[in-house]
Amino acid sequence: MFYRQAGDFKTTYRDDIQTFPLKQDRWGYYIVLAIAFLVVPFFINDYWTSAVMLPFLIYAIASLGLNILTGYCGQVSLGTGGFLAVGAYACYKIMTAFPDLNIFIVVLLSGVITAAVGMLFGIPSLRIKGFYLAVATLAAQFFLVWLFNKVPWFYNNSASGQISAPERSMFGFAVTGPNADAPVRYLFCLTFLVLLAWVARNLTRGRLGRSWMAIRDMDIAAEIIGVNPLKSKLSAFAVSSFFIGVAGALFFSVYLGAVEVGEAFGITQSFLVLFMIIIGGLGSIFGSFAGAAFLVLVPVLLKNIMVNWLGWPTDIAVHIEFMVVGGLIVLFLIAEPHGLAQLWRLAKDKFLLWPFPH
């Protein structure tokens, strides 16, 4: 009853182009933000942080990144795992080379380095399209993983090639390392996510975002009306890789604390993030969140139900988990190929009109 478009007139273009045109949506957004920043940190424990919240926040950042490239610019990439690895190893190298540098800046710099690498691997996209490009990005995936595994410089010549994040603090609170508390780690990642989501929103609503979508929808026409395909595609690769690089840096330093490249950043990561944006909704910021939440939560939920509640053997639970996740993906694609974001939109439209369906 109170969720209405009627009467909420916009008198300036500035009002018209804001992120949440509806007053109710805007308030909802502020409330969620307030809960996330002010309430959740007081209730969160290690399990919740490590098993649910951190993966969700970090994958949401990676999904935002991939969604910019794939959802907005139409360039399918399977190199996400490799770019996550670039972020992680850049973070490790900067952390150990400049121990006094603020961890926040370290993570941002890791993103910048990843953006540069991403642009390099984006160059073939100027000639290669569609599935051919998707498979070609696998070259980045495999090559980068091999490189980080092979060249000892990247892991400071440690005996096994593992990299471990030393302790770094912000405002006196440990953010990385074993002594970092759950709320601090959570808030650190949350800050990045909120900032980056805001940046993603800004980039996608202006000229750059439109040029990406134009390239996605019809690249030739876009070029003819004045969109520079080189700049658009490379900027999409750069922005996308920046996001993924930040995600990789957080993944390594805050979430896992120690990684081994082949295992943590393998091809499965690439597929996982791609799943997230497709289930969530291509070309939707909300979809990136929804997809990440879905694919982080569903396995944890299923596992808890089957193993902890029903007491099933763990292997059967995992097999069934695979079946359920696979089945759900197919089901979702059949029911709503445009993802959770579209379902959410439809639900909202229904609600806007309720109780008068027409």
């Binding site: 909802g28 957004y29 969620v32 933000l33 809960i35 996330a36 424990n45 290690d46 399990y47 919740w48 942080t49 490590s50 098993a51 649910v52 969700f56 150990t96 091999w146 595994n149 440690s158 005996a159 096994s160 090639g161 593992q162 471990s164 030393p166 302790e167 390392g177 074993p178 002594n179 949350l190 909120v194 979430y255 896992l256 604390g257 120690a258 990684v259 081994e260 082949g262 295992e263 943590a264 393998g266 909300f286 969140f289 929804a290 939440a293 879905f294 939560l297 944890v300 939920l301 596992k303 808890n304 139900i305 193993v307 902890n308 509640w309 763990t314 292997d315 995992v318 097999h319 695979f322």
Partner: protein
């Protein structure tokens, strides 16, 4: 942020379960699925079955039942962390993650949380240095011991002189596989053999290039640090190129029945290291048969009993139980916690009499653990595959490794870690 998350949070909070506090909890971070599941299953079964045996036969450890919480990691570090976090609230006594990747992950965490971790024959080798790694134990042997054992074996076959011999190391191109390289380099400098590194990428389905290279260069010995499908393919390829199997030596993770059976009769003579006995010719197996398998309480189908990886899982469980008993003795309480368990592990003594009393005489090496040395003496033995009989045979006693080479490496690596992570060294009496 989105509402979905909040809903999810609410949903799962209600699901988080709590264990009965009275039990002694032993989490088993197992993997029964995924690329390495085939190897993870027997180990996890052995680990679980031994605790079941202790509960059924002895009524628990010091009268308190042991409880195994299995958590599937799929050999994946992310899931490993989730498993760790989800079980650490249940007062676990010791973690056995069975993955070098997860071990690296958990070393800082268990240290911060004060929970001991036992990485038996895997993980971070320099964790042997107890002053740096206060909560990590890797007795009875580690990878560097293994590398040394293999070279010792070669030395003994050649009357102590292997100058100019060629040794190739075929290894899983990961943290795990790279572990022995540094030791082998040192050993090659000491003994004068030439080492060739032959990496194989995960999963290792296709190794034609590597084995053509070996066929071409004809190394005198081939060592292997493999896991999962890599083992089967490597042994098959070695058979195919007609490499003399008795000169092909695997680490203990490359020496299970799974690895040799697919290659058939020609795998006969393949050697692998081990730090425990093979087969089921020990009284403890009769007990397992009687109290666990026949009682329908086995974790698996019961057909794995006596296989290498099953025995290893059982051996790990036995060591955990003995450490718990030791801890109960030290602290004078049956209801021990993780910190007390750690003390028990640090004071663990495995002598012949103890193993005899457990029905496992000679099943593993005799060793003691102390505050400085969390890895024991590093004894290991050699086993050989008898394809005709379809079983592994021990062909040596448990022998020491070359600590002259290994100890400096351990000191160097652990001290570097202590420095990098600013670890306060544990005071040892």
């Amino acid at each position: 942020m989105n509402p979905l998350k909040i809903v999810g949070v609410a949903l799962i909070t209600s699901l988080a379960s709590t264990a009965a506090m009275a039990d002694l909890v032993f989490p088993s971070l197992s993997y029964r699925t995924g690329a390495y599941g085939a190897n993870g299953i027997p180990f996890a079964d052995g680990y679980a079955d031994y605790f079941t045996l202790v509960n059924e036969r002895d009524g628990g450890i010091g009268g308190i039942p042991a409880k195994v919480i299995e958590c599937e990691t799929g050999y994946n570090t992310q899931k490993g962390v989730e498993c760790y976090e989800s079980t650490k609230g249940e007062n676990p006594l010791v973690y056995q993650p069975l993955s070098t990747g997860i071990t690296y992950q958990l070393i800082p965490k268990v240290t911060a949380d004060g929970i001991p971790m036992h990485t038996m024959g895997y993980g971070r080798t320099s964790a042997k240095n107890g002053t740096v790694f206060s909560n990590v134990f890797n007795y009875p042997a580690n990878y560097w011991d293994g590398a040394s054992h293999a070279i010792n074996h070669i030395l003994s076959e050649n009357g102590g002189d292997i100058k100019g011999k060629n040794v190739a190391l075929v290894y899983h191109n990961s943290a795990y596989g790279k572990e022995p390289i540094r030791t082998l380099n040192e050993l090659s400098a000491k003994h004068g053999f030439k080492l060739a590194e032959v990496p194989v990428d995960h999963p290792g389905q296709e190794q034609k290039s590597q084995w053509l290279q070996i066929r071409r260069t004809r190394p005198d010995y081939v060592l292997m640090w493999g896991w999962g499908v890599m083992n089967q393919v490597a042994i098959q390829e070695a058979v195919n190129i007609g490499y003399p199997m008795e000169n092909f030596i695997g680490i203990w993770w490359s020496g299970s029945e799974n690895d040799v059976i697919p290659a058939g009769a020609k795998a006969n003579g393949y050697k692998a290291l081990t730090f425990h006995a093979v087969g089921s010719d020990f009284p403890v197996f009769d007990d397992i048969q009687k109290h666990v398998v026949d009682a329908g309480k086995a974790a698996g189908a019961g057909d794995q009993v006596g296989t290498v990886l099953y025995n290893r899982g059982m051996y790990a469980a036995m060591l955990a139980v003995e450490a718990a008993k030791t801890a109960q003795g030290i602290h004078g309480t049956a209801d021990i916690n993780a910190a007390q368990m750690r003390d028990g592990m640090e004071a663990l003594v495995m002598d012949a009499a103890k193993m005899e009393s457990l029905g496992m005489a000679g099943f593993g090496p005799e060793f003691t653990v102390d505050c400085k040395n969390h890895g024991g003496p590093g004894l290991g033995a050699m086993q050989q595959w008898d394809a005709g009989a379809g079983e592994w045979k021990l062909i040596s006693d448990f022998e020491p490794s070359d600590m002259e080479i290994i100890q400096p490496l351990i000191d160097e690596d652990s001290n570097a870690f202590a420095e990098e992570s600013k670890i306060e060294l544990q005071e040892c009496a």
